[in-house]
C-alpha cells in the first residue's frame, strides 16, 4: 500500500521542483534580461497592468531599433498579486533565477519598499516608475525612481490652491489604507498650513469602499471652500458623484492617481471643474507625447493613463542608461542612471537628483467641458 503512493508523491514533488526551478535550465546569453514586477492581479491590478503595458511598448520599440549593446532586450514579468511579501519573493526570483540586470517596479510604494532591500543588497539597480513615497529611495543607492515624490506633489497642489485659486479653507478626504494617499495628504496639509491656509476637516476612507456619504456629509458641515481628494481614480469618480448628490458644489482637487479615463467615465459631470496634479498632459502638442499616445492606442486600443506613461518612461530611461554605460553590469548601470540628465520622456525632461528621485516638472490639469485640459506647469524649485 505504501510503495505506489510513495512513488506517486515523489513524482509529484519532482514535477513541482522542475516547475519551480525549471526556467533556470534555459540560459539566455544572447539577450539582455530586465526584470519587471507588478501587480497584475489583486486589488491594484489596473495599475500594474498599465505600467507593464507601458514597459512592453518601450521594449517593442527598443528591439525594433536594434536592441541594446547589440543584443535583443527581453523582460521577465512577475505578478506580485498586489501583496508586499510577494513583491519581495518576485524580486528575489528575478534576481537569482532569471539573473536580470535591472529591475523595473513597482507602482505602490509599499511594494517597492518590500522589494528594495533585496535589490540593494544584490547590487541590482531598481527603477520604480511610480512609487512616490520618499522612503523608497532611502533604502540604498541602487534604488531609483522615475517620478517625483509626494513631498513635491502634495506641496505643489497646496501652493497652487493657495496662490492660484486663492483658497484658504480646504477639507481633505484621503485613503487611509494607501500610503500614496496618506503621503500626499500629509505634505499638502503641511504646506497649506505653512502658507497660512486652514485645513477644516480630514476624513478618510479605505480603498475599495463604495460609500463616502458619511464623510462627505461631515465635510459639508465644516464649510470648506474646496476638497482635496488625493486618491486613486477607482474611488475618485464615485466620491465626486456622491458629493454632488449631497449638494456639495465645491471644486475638487486631486493628485496623479486621478489620471485615467475612468475618472471622467464614472464621475461624469461631477468632476467638472476639478484640478489635479499629474506627470504629463494628454493634450500637450509636443510630438513626444502625441506619438506615444498614438502608438499606445494602436497597440492596446485604449488611451494611456499615468501609470502607462511612467512605465514607458522608466523603461526608456533604463535602456538609455544601459546604452550610455555601454555595459550590462549592475554598478555601471547604476552610475549611469544616477547621472541621467535632461532625459526626454513623455512625462517631461527628467534629471536624476542626488537622492535618486526624478527631478521633473509637474503639471496641473483641469477637467473642463468633459475633457482633461492642461492648465499650468510647475518646475521643481
Amino acid at each position: 500500500m505504501l510503495k505506489p503512493t510513495f512513488r506517486k508523491i515523489s513524482w509529484f514533488f519532482l514535477i513541482l521542483f522542475c516547475l519551480c526551478f525549471g526556467n533556470a535550465c534555459v540560459k539566455h546569453e544572447d539577450s539582455l534580461t530586465v526584470g519587471v514586477f507588478a501587480s497584475l492581479t489583486g486589488t491594484t491590478a489596473t495599475f500594474g497592468q498599465s505600467m507593464n503595458e507601458g514597459i512592453q511598448l518601450a521594449l517593442e520599440e527598443v528591439n525594433q531599433s536594434g536592441g541594446l549593446l547589440g543584443k535583443k532586450v527581453r523582460t521577465v514579468v512577475e505578478d506580485d498579486q498586489s501583496k508586499p511579501e510577494e513583491a519581495k519573493s518576485a524580486v528575489l526570483k528575478l534576481i537569482q533565477q532569471d539573473q536580470v540586470l535591472a529591475l523595473l517596479g513597482e507602482v505602490a510604494s509599499s511594494r517597492s519598499l518590500a522589494a528594495a532591500p533585496d535589490a540593494q543588497n544584490s547590487k541590482i539597480p531598481m527603477l520604480s516608475p511610480a512609487s512616490t513615497n520618499p522612503k523608497v529611495t532611502e533604502v540604498g543607492d541602487y534604488i531609483f525612481r522615475a517620478c517625483f515624490v509626494d513631498t513635491f506633489q502634495g506641496s505643489s497642489m497646496a501652493r497652487f490652491a493657495y496662490n492660484d485659486l486663492g483658497l484658504r479653507k480646504i477639507a481633505i478626504l484621503y485613503d487611509v489604507k494607501n500610503d500614496y494617499s496618506v503621503g500626499l495628504m500629509e505634505f499638502f496639509d503641511k504646506t497649506f498650513r505653512e502658507l497660512g491656509g486652514e485645513i477644516v476637516a480630514k476624513e478618510s476612507y479605505s480603498e475599495n469602499d463604495i460609500d463616502f456619504r458619511a464623510q462627505l456629509t461631515t465635510i459639508k458641515g465644516d464649510a470648506p471652500q474646496a476638497i482635496y481628494v488625493p486618491g486613486y481614480y477607482t474611488e475618485v469618480g464615485l466620491i465626486a458623484r456622491q458629493a454632488r448628490d449631497l449638494g456639495i458644489t465645491l471644486p475638487l482637487l486631486g493628485g496623479d492617481g486621478w489620471d485615467s479615463v475612468k475618472t471622467l467615465e464614472i464621475g461624469g459631470k461631477s468632476v467638472e471643474g476639478s484640478y489635479y496634479t499629474n506627470h504629463y498632459s494628454a493634450d500637450d502638442p509636443s510630438p513626444v507625447v502625441q506619438n506615444f499616445i498614438k502608438k499606445y492606442q494602436e497597440k492596446y486600443k485604449k488611451v494611456p493613463d499615468a501609470m502607462a506613461v511612467l512605465g514607458y518612461d522608466a523603461a526608456n530611461m533604463l535602456f538609455d542608461a544601459i546604452r550610455r554605460a555601454g555595459s550590462a553590469e549592475g554598478p555601471k548601470i547604476r552610475d549611469s542612471l544616477a547621472s541621467t540628465k535632461d532625459f526626454q520622456g513623455v512625462s517631461g525632461k527628467i534629471t536624476m537628483d542626488p537622492q535618486r528621485n526624478a527631478s521633473k516638472r509637474i503639471v496641473i490639469l483641469k477637467i473642463e467641458g468633459g475633457k482633461v485640459k492642461f492648465f499650468k506647469s510647475l518646475e521643481p524649485s
Binding site: 476624513e203 475599495n208 463604495i210 458619511a214 464623510q215 461624469g268
Partner: protein, 298 residues
C-alpha cells in the same frame, strides 16, 4: 441637526444595500447552514452581466431596457448559483463544516480572480439606465431616486420572500429542510431540488442587488463583492441569521451604525466597526435581534 438627519438618511440608504445582499445570505444559511462566501461575488457577476446586457439591449424605453437587463442578469446568476451548489457544495454536504466553509471561500476567490481576467481588473462605468435625480430635499437633507428605489425594493423583497417562505408549499419545504435534512427526506421532500431552488433564489436576489448598485454608484469592478459581501453577512448575523426580516433590520442597522460612527467618531475605523459590532452581537446575543436561541440537545 440637519447633519444628523442627513447621516441617518445616508445610513438607511447604505443599509438597504447591505439588506439586499443579506437577504440572499440568510436564505442560503437557513437551508444549508453554510456561509456562502461566494454570495457577494455572485452579486458582482450580476452587476457585470447587467453591464454587458445594457450594451446589447440598447433599444426601447428605459423601463424595458432595465427590465431586460434585470432579467438577463437574474437568469445568468440563477444558473451560476445552481451550478456552484451542484459542483462545489453538494459533494460536501455531509463533510465537516469547516471543509464546506473553505470551499465557499475558494469559490469566492475563484470568482474574483477569474472575474479579473474575464472582465478586466479595471472598474467599469455602469450605464445610466435610470437618470439619477434628487428625489427629496427637505431643508438640506437630500437623497436621490435610486437610493429611494433600493430602500423600497429591499422592503418589497423582504415581504415577498417572507410570503414565499411562510405561505407557499415550496416555502414550507424550505423551512422543513432548514429544520432537518433527514426529517424532510423521511417525509419525501426532494431536498436536493429544494436546496438548489434556494440557491437560485438567493442568487437572483444578489443579481438584482448588483444591478441596483450599478445604477446607484455607476462603478463596478470584479472585486466589488468582497467587502459588501462580508458586511452583509455581518448584517444577517446581526438580525438573526436564517431570519428574513432580521436580514433587513440588520442591514439597515449596520448602515446607520457605520454612518454615525464615521460621521461622529472617526472615519478611519469605519470598516472595523462592522466587525466590532459583529463580535459584540455574537457575545451578547448570538442569535441576533430576531433570532431564537436554540438549545443544543444531547
Amino acid at each position: 441637526m440637519i447633519k444628523f438627519f442627513q447621516q441617518i438618511v445616508n445610513g438607511l440608504a447604505l443599509g438597504s444595500i447591505y439588506s439586499l445582499i443579506a437577504l440572499g445570505y440568510t436564505m442560503v444559511y437557513g437551508v444549508l447552514r453554510l456561509i456562502n462566501f461566494a454570495h457577494g461575488d455572485i452579486y458582482m457577476v450580476g452587476a457585470m452581466v447587467g453591464y454587458y446586457a445594457a450594451r446589447i439591449f440598447t433599444g426601447g424605453g428605459s423601463a424595458t431596457r432595465l427590465g431586460l437587463v434585470l432579467l438577463s442578469s437574474m437568469l445568468v446568476c440563477g444558473l451560476l448559483g445552481a451550478l456552484i451548489e451542484r459542483l462545489a457544495y453538494r459533494p460536501l454536504r455531509r463533510a465537516p463544516k469547516i471543509n464546506a466553509l473553505i470551499t465557499a471561500i475558494g469559490v469566492s476567490l475563484f470568482l474574483e480572480y477569474f472575474g479579473q481576467w474575464l472582465f478586466g481588473a479595471d472598474p467599469k462605468s455602469f450605464p445610466d439606465l435610470i437618470e439619477s435625480q434628487q428625489a427629496f430635499n427637505f431643508h438640506g437633507v437630500v437623497f436621490n431616486n435610486i437610493q429611494l428605489m433600493i430602500f423600497i425594493v429591499s422592503f418589497l423583497l423582504m415581504f415577498g420572500l417572507r410570503f414565499i417562505v411562510q405561505k407557499t408549499k415550496i416555502g414550507k419545504a424550505m423551512r422543513a429542510v432548514s429544520f432537518s435534512h433527514v426529517g424532510s427526506q423521511l417525509v419525501g421532500i426532494p431536498i436536493n431540488r429544494i436546496i438548489s431552488l434556494t440557491f437560485v433564489l438567493g442568487s437572483v436576489l444578489a443579481a438584482a442587488a448588483g444591478i441596483l448598485l450599478g445604477l446607484l454608484n455607476h462603478k463596478i469592478d470584479p472585486l466589488m463583492g468582497l467587502m459588501p459581501g462580508l458586511k452583509a453577512f455581518v448584517a444577517a448575523v446581526l438580525g438573526g441569521i436564517g431570519n428574513i426580516p432580521g436580514a433587513l433590520a440588520g442591514g439597515l442597522l449596520m448602515g446607520i451604525a457605520e454612518t454615525l460612527v464615521s460621521g461622529y467618531i472617526s472615519s478611519t475605523y469605519q470598516n472595523a466597526l462592522a466587525f466590532i459590532l459583529l463580535i459584540v452581537v455574537l457575545l451578547v446575543k448570538p442569535a441576533g435581534i430576531f433570532g431564537k436561541s436554540s438549545q443544543e440537545k444531547v
